[in-house]
Amino acid sequence: MYLPDFDYIAATSVAEASRLLASLGPEAKILAGGTDVLPMMKQETIAPKTLVSITRLDGLKAISLEEGRGVVIGALCTHNEVMKSSLLQEKYLSVCETAHRMANNQIRNIGTIGGNITNAVPSADFPPILIALGATVTLQSNSGSRSVLLEDFFTGPRQSVIRQDEILTEIVIPVNGFNGSTYHKFGLRRSGALAVVGVAVAVVMEGDLCKDVRIALGAVAPTPIRAREAEALLRGKEINDALLEEAGKLAAAASKPISDMRGSAEYRRDMVRVFTRRCLRKAIDQGHV
């Protein structure tokens, strides 16, 4: 399986990458880990004329805690780097666990978190947990830099608000008081399988009282979505099992899954119910200190 011909340019700065994307237009694409772009080019799903490589931009490879901003994850961090980050393990273990459940070791060594988001595939694993944690992404171009709530980033399968000349440079998880969070993925195999259903939950618990909660669903709608009715049911309440079951039903009702070779719509919807309940239980138990 060979790759079709294309031109390759290794950008040396974000500004250069943005300038190239602007001047070359939609026929130019960013190359990060390439775990999505290259298989698609081999299968002739896409045929970019130019790949602008950003892999040498070392400034996009750090994970740090920034005063007043929160945890900042560089777009070029690989899944394994996210998984092994001691800062993330301490602050948001759920993000590390998400990375751990992705793809396989080889892919986790080259696939990047920025690519996983920008790709905008409905089944992608990072978006649900990052949306639940209220993350924003920074989009940078030569006309400026803007911060977009990840929840508002996606507009459809493989579609997002990113402009042709923009580069996603970082993911920011703001300081938000969540004391429990988790992501559960149902895939057809434990490794190397995309999500059939993905559910992420983040909670702020005070004893039994649920002060705040966010539920994000992946792979069951054209974009990742929030299950707002389920959240509203739980917010401000003392938690019990009956409430969690009801929240699961509301989340299932909010999902709009399709049927495909990985599972029927009915099955996916019911799995949303079950996984929402399980995720809530796990996140609440963590937050229940």
């Binding site: 399986m1 390759y8 299968q43 892999t55 793809a103 396989n104 070791n105 080259i110 490794s191």
Partner: protein, 169 residues
């Protein structure tokens, strides 16, 4: 990385790879994959090609010590990096302990997955000399084997684990 354009306007790139401790400078095209440089240019055909889409792991090599699928790495992206292939294991005529263990445990049948499998195992043992069975299974989860059923592969890798201090044998 130097780019050269020929009379027909085809762009080529001068890259240097450090493979199994030797340095190789080659001229490649943008669409040349690392696996094809290794196999076709350097004659290192121990690295196999199966799916060519990142699913099977038969093309696994270590890039700066980490296992990656060489079918998903552009040769230009590997410029300046260190690569270890199955040919780089062992010394002279002596096989690597992992290779010996695969033979001793009958951990291969057709052998197509073996070089990728061993490279994944090598990376695991380098960073974690005493892994659990679960850690071994996870490390080779990206390496598919159609023949063995994995049991003997896991056994072979575990047999190379360092004995914990004060352990038996």
């Amino acid at each position: 990385m130097q780019a050269i354009q020929d009379k027909e306007g085809v762009k080529r790139y001068l890259i240097t790879l450090y493979v199994n401790g030797d340095s190789y400078t080659r001229v490649v095209k943008a669409n040349t994959l690392l696996v094809n440089v290794l196999r076709d240019e350097l004659d290192l055909t121990g690295t196999k090609k199966g799916c060519e889409l990142g699913d099977c792991g038969s093309c696994t090599v270590l890039l700066d010590g980490k296992p990656v699928n060489s079918c998903l790495v552009l040769a230009v992206e590997a410029d300046g990096h260190e690569i270890l292939t199955i040919e780089g294991l062992g010394e002279n005529e002596k096989l690597d302990p992992l290779q010996e263990a695969f033979i001793a445990n009958a951990a291969l049948q057709c052998g197509y997955c073996t070089s990728g499998m061993i490279m994944s195992a090598k990376a695991l043992l380098n960073s974690n000399p005493n892994p659990t069975e679960q850690e071994v299974r996870e490390a080779i989860a990206g390496n598919l084997c159609r023949c063995t059923g994995y049991v003997n592969i896991v056994k072979a890798i575990l047999s190379c684990a360092q004995q914990p201090e004060g352990g038996s044998e």
